[in-house]
């Protein structure tokens, strides 16, 4: 660290020492970083053993077999990607078009109520989504497609998409609403229609924000545990179609943690999977932040 930075840092901390209230406030603000670090540390610590035993096979190995002490997570990774991809295919078009609709097309007096409804949707807990999925969607898919069980990757994707849409809508909605009025007026003043304005002004400016909202949606979808585990059928294998049951990484962790003996290899392997999930989440969230900041600077 350069001398200048050292001086800056030490004067920062000296100032804290002389004003106790400021120090308390700073401590509270730092809790977020502290918790994040601790989380990374503890999860990595518990998972370390599994990584030393299996290395990258933990994620890419083909079988997860308790009796033979082999822990390979590829089916789980596959399941997660299938379901997330399926969810995003549905959620992105619906989410982005909804956010454009709400921020640009809807008359003013309807905007806040609709936004509140979307907020309400976002606050419904995962377990209730799973419940409705089991109650309504699973039988539906079972009947419509003539399957032995309605608990499939398709079902999980459907439920997950509904859960991801509010994230995409609220984040991109904020970005779209923030497009300065005078840019839109430039297009309108030249005779452009509302849709032409949206296409030529609003969307290009909001591009990075919308991308960020999709990334955040991805992060949300990949980490979703409860609802998915209730409707996906929970079979760890590499599925050949969306009509089969699959297992995602978080669902697997949730259902197997209970039985895994503390300190056993399986226990460590589960934490290893958790670490991978955590790192994926970090990368996605940080990237989303970067994308937004870069977009703002344009």
């Amino acid at each position: 660290m350069s001398n200048k930075k050292l001086i800056q840092l030490s004067s920062f901390f000296l100032k804290l020492k002389s004003q106790p209230m400021t120090a308390v406030l700073f401590l509270c603000a730092s809790f977020s970083i502290i918790i994040l670090f601790l989380m990374l540390f503890f999860v990595a610590q518990e998972g370390a053993y599994a990584f030393t035993q299996f290395g990258s096979d933990l994620l890419f190995g083909m079988r997860w077999d308790l009796e033979s002490n082999i822990f390979g997570g590829l089916p789980l990774l596959f399941g997660s990607l299938m379901v997330t991809f399926g969810a995003l295919i549905i959620a992105i078009p619906i989410g982005v078009s909804t956010s454009i609709f709400v921020s640009e097309v809807l008359p003013f007096y309807l905007r806040d109520p609709i936004k509140s409804i979307i907020e309400l949707l976002a606050s419904i807990p995962s377990v209730l989504y799973g419940f409705i999925g089991l109650l309504v969607v699973v039988p539906f898919i079972q009947d419509v497609f003539g399957l032995p069980s309605g608990q499939t990757a398709l079902t999980a994707s459907a439920i997950l998409s509904i859960m991801t849409i509010p994230t995409i809508v609220s984040v991109s909605g904020e970005i779209i609403s923030a497009v300065p009025k005078n840019y839109k007026e430039a297009a309108l003043g030249l005779g452009a229609t509302k849709w032409e304005t949206i296409k030529s002004v609003v969307l290009p400016i909001s591009k990075s924000g919308i991308l960020a909202s999709i990334m955040l949606g991805f992060g949300r979808a990949v980490g979703e545990t409860i609802a998915v585990s209730m409707v996906s059928g929970n079979q760890a294998h590499i599925a050949s179609s969306y009509f089969e049951a699959i297992y995602t990484i978080p669902s697997f962790i949730a259902t197997h943690m209970g039985e895994a003996a503390v300190g056993s290899t399986e226990y460590s392997a589960l934490f290893g999977l958790g670490l991978i999930l955590l790192i994926i989440t970090f990368i996605v969230n940080t990237l989303a932040d970067v994308v937004v900041k870069r977009g703002v600077h344009q």
Binding site: L25, C28, L38, S123, P125, V136, G223
Partner: protein, 260 residues
């Protein structure tokens, strides 16, 4: 868009058909007799405690970020950390809570572990909401207090903070709505399928609506119909809190004459 509305309506009708079987007496009956009392109390205990922890810390953090933080690297890192924390999957938070609170600190499966774990989930919501509430308070109030000789903290706590209070309360309520139905985070940290009565100390495990629902379906393979009542209660709790937050927000927006 039309498809969504149709699907929504169909879900509602399916739910409404099941409501007829609801027996309100079960709300106050103990689980030992097939009632839901301990689950409801457990859920309430959990989110109240978590809010009590995350509330003050979150508000203080927000005050720091808006009023005290120098615009530099440390502040940017804290900001990004809050965003990242908000995006961590709840199962990982549950794993972390289990490792740190239940095992390392020895709290085992208890209300306390649940409080600490759930507060991590509420924290980013309170910080972000409080930040916004504090930011829109006109600086003139703080300046007036400073001009009268108040210290920085007094000026902020006696003017800005009080003006931002409604927004802060709203964000805490939203945080509660978020964790009231949380399952993954309490899976290994605080809840069990059955307890003898409600917990008499925070070190005891606790029942919860969400946990009960989940375990019955996934671990015991029961169908959704068997937990219909529990789902309904949970739904009502979450929706009530969310609606209260939204209404509060609208009400106080009207009541603040300095918001031109």
């Amino acid at each position: 868009m039309v498809i969504c509305i149709l699907a929504f309506l169909w879900i509602i009708t399916t739910i409404l058909t099941g409501i007829g079987t609801f027996n309100a007496e079960l709300l106050t009956t103990s689980a030992l007799q097939g009632g839901y009392f301990e689950m409801i109390v457990g859920t309430i205990y959990l989110f109240l405690g978590a809010a009590a922890i995350a509330g003050p810390i979150g508000v203080f953090a927000a005050i720091y970020l808006v009023e005290y933080a120098p615009s530099g690297k440390i502040t940017r890192i804290i900001d990004q950390a809050i965003n990242n924390l908000a995006g961590v999957p709840s199962i990982i938070i549950g794993l972390f809570g289990y490792t740190l609170f239940s095992r390392q600190l020895g709290f085992d499966i208890s209300l306390l572990s649940g409080w600490l774990t759930l507060s991590i989930m509420i924290l980013p919501i309170v910080i972000r909401g409080s930040e916004e509430a504090i930011r829109i308070v006109p600086k003139a109030f703080k300046e007036a207090a400073l001009g009268l000789g108040a210290t920085k903290w007094k000026a902020i706590s006696l003017t800005t903070l009080i003006a931002a209070a409604p927004g802060i309360v709203t964000s805490v309520i939203l945080g509660i709505a978020r964790v009231a139905g949380e399952t993954a985070a309490i899976l290994f940290t605080s809840s069990v399928i059955m307890t003898r009565g409600t917990p008499s100390s925070p070190l005891e495990p606790v029942m919860a609506l969400s946990f009960n629902m989940y375990v019955k379906i996934v671990a015991r393979g029961e169908g959704p119909e068997s937990v219909f009542d529990i789902a309904l209660i949970l739904f009502l709790i979450v929706v009530t809190f969310s609606l209260v937050a939204i209404i509060l927000r609208i009400y106080y927006r009207r009541k603040q004459p300095w918001l031109s």
